[in-house]
Each structure stands twice: as C-alpha cells, then as structure tokens.
C-alpha cells in the first residue's frame, strides 16, 4: 500500500512540475507589468535628461506634440503577449493619440450588432429553420463639447427582401448632469429593458426580449417621437435620475409612433424616475408613467378614441452574480365615448448567473413572463401569455456570444402549450 501511495505522490509532483513548465498566463502578466515599470523608469530618465538639456522648449510644447513624443515609447508596452494578444484589437476604449488630442467635430463612431438564429418548435404549421436577425448600425457623433447625435438603423429580413428602419435618431444638448435636452425618435423610457438593450441582441442575456417590450409589439409603445429631458437629481446616496418627455405617442398603427406626424392633436407624455443607490452598486429601481390619446383608424359604434395610461415599475440588479431583472406594467384604456375602462397587465422576472469557471464565459438564465388582456379590451388584440425560458449564454469572445434556449409558452387558455428550442449567435463589431 505504501508503495502505491508513494507512486501517487510522485505522480502529483510530476504533474506539478509539468504544469510549472507550461507558460502560465500569470507569469506573462507579471512580465508585462515589469516591462511597463521598466518603460516608466526609462521615460522618467528621458524626462530628467530633457530637463537638464539647454533647450527646455519641450516643456512648453503643445499637448499634441507631447503625446506624439511619448507614443513610440508607450508602444513598446502596448502589445500584451500571450493570451491577451488575441484580444489586442478588441479594446473598446479610445486609443489616445496625437490626432485625437485635437478635438475634431463631428467625430463619428459607428458600431454594428448582428445575430443569426435557428428555431424549432412543436407548434403545428410553424417550420423550423434558420433566420437572420436584425443587422443594427449604431452611430454616435459629438457635434461640439455639449451637442451629440445618436442614431440607430436596422436592416430587417422580410420574405420579399429587407426593410430599413430608423430605430432611434436623437440630437442631444447637455447643459450639465442635471439637465440634458434631446429631440428625435427614442425608445420610450418606460421600465428598464426598452432603454437598456435597444436592438442589440448581444447586449441582452437572452435570445429574445420579453413579450411586453417586444419589437413590433403593442403592449407598451416601444418608440416615441418628440423631445426628452433627462438628468440626475441632486439626491445624495439615493442616486435619483429622471426622464421626462413629450411627443406624438402611438400612431394609427399602434405599434408605431407618429414618425411623420401625429394622428391627433393630443401629445403623449412620459415620465420615468429611477434610483441607483450609492451604497448598493448594481441596484436600479424605478417607476414610469405614460399618458396618451389613441385614435384608431377604424370608427366603430363605440367610438375610436381612447385615453391610455401606462404605469410601470422595475427593479434590477445589473451585476451578473447574480443578474436579476423584474418589470411590471399596467396599461389602462378608457373609451372616451363610453367611459368603458380596461386594465392589461404584464410582467417578467429574469435571473441569470455568471459561472466562475471557464473564464466566466458561461451564464445560465431563466425567465418567467406573464401577460394578461381582458376580454373587454378594445384597443389591443388578445396578448395573453404565460411562458418560461431556460437558457445558457456562452461568450465566445468579448464581443460575440452563443445562446441556446428552451421555451415553453401558452397563449390563450384553449391553446396548446408550445415547446421550442432556440439558438442564436450574436455579436457586435
């Protein structure tokens, strides 16, 4: 027995020695750190020599020139070898260079998002197969120190070709942190999801958005055309912020805003108040209200005009260990002619957890969602839904992921449950 144990111990030592011979990422990080320190020492030495030199004009050189001088020395330290090397072009930060020291306006930045999907369900009449998701281009451009333009365009696959949609087009003037005023087409600041993830599937944990904020859906008005004021509220540790907007509200097709003009003389307004407490970094909770007058294109004996009042609340924990998102919204419609009133409710709860293994690339998640529309509802068609999603997100790189989901959903009480498997690869570029 002793001999066996001795052999086992020797094997462990052997394995340890073999492990030690393989290049460890930590050693390389340490080497990089040492190199950086060495570069800094050399830079300090150069600076000392320059100050001793008779021509001290360098001290008064413009920042542009100074940056240009320091760049070659810095370049020695930049390319991180080893495992980091594969991501050296992936940095999201602005690489400060001499050119960028000078402020040029406009300074356009473009980023894209895309996704490819596969789905298969047991719903009769629904074929399985691949589909191309939205190709999404995001534009951000500073027009001056305080004026910025943001745009978002999507290219959507249709049976007969592609459609192009202007999802957002916003010009914003920043007075300070407490008051920023913008004009254009927004994602309506109701709740959390609609303004947190927009159309970039890569940004969200799951493959799809919750049904209550589905793109093309009607439960809440996803888009809003008008003006919006936003900013922080001086509130100390409570970390309060607000959005207040006035706009056209829903158009004749209620899933769309009145891009080309309102269909009535009543403006919609929206207010959103949320808190990010300083002591609970990662927590956000908020409430939203939205008021509009809907004019349906078809006139019925009961009238075609309705008052809409949406109230919503959300609480989210944005860190990934765990991630927690929960939203609730109530949509009240009141017939102006008959005073008949209906309430539609929807909510979802989503949890996820970034696993500590495999360089934190795996994130399992679960979402439950529920939507209820009463039979007496006059504006919405029935949107009832009870559904669960279980899935796994795998981050292939810092900027691409692969997701797989199982969904179980049921619409009307008389409808059968639908089971489905969904797969998606999404990315930003």
């Amino acid at each position: 027995m002793h001999r066996r144990l001795a052999v086992l111990v020797m094997m462990i030592f052997g394995a340890n020695a073999a492990w030690a011979q393989s290049p460890a990422p930590l050693d390389q990080a340490e080497q990089i750190r040492i190199l950086l320190e060495r570069v800094q020492q050399l830079e300090k030495r150069v600076a000392e020599l320059e100050t001793k030199a008779p021509t001290t004009a360098a001290a008064t050189e413009s920042a542009v020139n100074v940056a240009a001088i320091t760049k070659p020395a810095a370049a020695v330290a930049v390319p991180p070898p080893g495992p980091v090397q594969g991501h050296q072009h992936e940095t999201a930060e602005t690489q400060t260079s001499a050119g960028q020291m000078e402020v040029h306006y406009p300074s356009l930045q473009i980023r894209g998002f895309g996704d490819v999907n596969f789905s298969a369900t047991d719903q009769k009449g629904t074929p399985s197969g691949f589909n191309l998701g939205q190709l999404d281009l995001h534009l951000a451009s500073s027009l001056s120190r305080k004026v910025t333009y943001f745009g978002e365009l999507t290219f959507n696959a249709q049976p007969t070709g592609y459609t192009v949609e202007v999802e957002r087009s916003i010009i914003r003037y920043d007075y300070n942190d407490f008051f920023k005023l913008s004009f254009g087409r927004y994602h309506t600041p109701i709740g959390y999801w609609n303004t947190a993830f927009h159309h970039g599937a890569w940004l969200q944990t799951t493959i799809s958005r919750p049904d209550m904020v589905r793109v093309g859906g009607t439960f809440i008005p996803v888009h809003f055309v008008g003006l919006l004021a936003e900013g922080n509220i001086p509130s100390g540790a409570a970390g309060l912020s607000y959005n207040v907007g006035v706009g056209n509200g829903r158009g004749s097709i209620i899933s769309r805003p009145g891009d080309a003009g309102d269909n009535n003389n009543n403006r919609a307004w929206v207010a959103n108040l949320y808190s990010r407490p300083a002591k609970l970094y990662g927590l956000q909770m908020g409430v939203s209200v939205y008021r509009d007058k809907i004019t349906l294109p078809v006139v019925s004996p009961a009238g075609n005009e309705f008052r809409e009042w949406i109230s919503a609340a959300h609480i989210v924990w944005t860190k990934e260990n765990p991630e927690f998102l929960a939203e609730f919204a109530n949509v009240n419609h009141k017939n102006i002619l008959t005073n008949a009133s209906t309430n539609n409710q929807a909510y979802y709860v989503q949890v996820g957890y970034r696993l500590p293994w495999l360089e934190k690339t795996l994130k399992p998640y679960y979402r439950f969602e529920h939507t209820h529309t009463p039979f007496s509802e006059q504006v919405f068609t029935n949107q009832d839904l009870v559904g669960s999603i279980v899935g796994l997100r795998y981050d292939i790189t810092n900027y691409a992921s692969f997701k797989s989901e199982y969904r179980n959903t049921k619409r009307l009480p008389t409808d059968p449950r639908v089971n489905g498997a969904f797969f998606q690869t999404d990315f930003t570029f």
Binding site: M1, L26, E30, R33, A67, T70, K71, G239, Y281
Partner: protein, 165 residues
C-alpha cells in the same frame, strides 16, 4: 487503517493542499503595490470625492464637474496595475465586463465616447495637465507636480483606510 497508513494519508493530503495553495492564482496575485491616487487637472474645482462619487464618474453617470467643464476619463492600458485596481475596486468588473459596459453605455446614448486609454505615466501626466477636466489614476509612487490629488472618502494615498490599493 493502521497508524502508518493514517500518517501517509495525512502526508498525502498535506502535499495536495500545498500544491493547490501554492499554485492558486490568488497566491500569485496578492503582491501589493502602492496606493493608486485619483488625480485631476489642477483647474478642476474639486478636492474630495467619496468612493461612490468616484464610481459615478468612472461609470459615466457623472459627466460634468460643472456646467462648463466636462469630465475627461483617462484609464491605463490593460496589464497596468492602476487599471487592475480601478477595475477591481471601483468598477468591480472583469476586463471583458468593462469593455462590454462601455459598448452598452454608448449604445444607450448615455455617453458619446469611452474613456481614453493611456499607455504610460508620462502620457497620463501630459494629458492631465493639457486637458481641462481630466481625471486619471496614478501609482502614488510616481506622482509629479502640476496636478491635483483628490481625497477619497477623506483619505489621501498612504492613509491606512485609503480604499484604492
């Protein structure tokens, strides 16, 4: 199991523990450096910030020192110790999460540009002095004149309770 076997098992467990402990990343990463100072351009009208206020600035939730002076964020390139400290203590994010955070921030139209990356202390100090509103994170052993070091939670680098280390 006799006494000798028990001793061998204990020896084996000790070896296993030592192997795991000595090879664990945490052991290799615990080498402590100097405090990381929060440094701003000398004209910035601020001298003291709480850690949560520093976090707000770095998260892009506070973008102006006052209505005339925007914040200019400077962050060291990956592998610099200052960056490690900022990501660990302030952002509480991994390198990947940090990158994704700023992609999302700009996509949400909450910021027009990500932080500027700087490759060396020299570049950092040049930018700090050249750019009004600039804020950077500097190893306190490498401080130079001409910039302002902020107190964080009332502490300066070197204090026992200074949070950025």
């Amino acid at each position: 199991m006799n006494a000798t076997s028990k001793r061998v098992v204990i020896f084996f467990c000790t070896i296993l523990w030592a192997v795991v402990t000595l090879r664990s990343p945490s052991a290799a990463q615990t080498s402590r450096g100097a405090d990381v100072a929060v440094v701003v351009n000398s004209d910035t009208p601020i001298a003291d910030l709480s850690l949560s206020e520093v976090r707000k600035v770095l998260l892009g939730e506070r973008q102006y020192w006052n209505s005339k002076l925007p914040v200019v964020l400077l962050i060291r390139a990956p592998a610099a110790r200052e960056r490690d400290v900022v990501l660990r203590v302030i952002y509480q994010m991994s390198e990947a999460q940090f990158k994704q955070y700023w992609v999302a921030k700009i996509f949400r139209a909450e910021a027009a540009a990500p932080p500027r990356i700087v490759y060396s202390n020299d570049m950092q100090f040049e930018l700090l002095t050249a750019l009004p509103g600039a804020i950077a994170f500097v190893d306190s052993r490498n401080m130079r004149p001409g910039v302002k070091v902020l107190r964080v939670d009332g502490h300066v680098p070197g204090d026992k309770d200074y949070p950025l280390r």
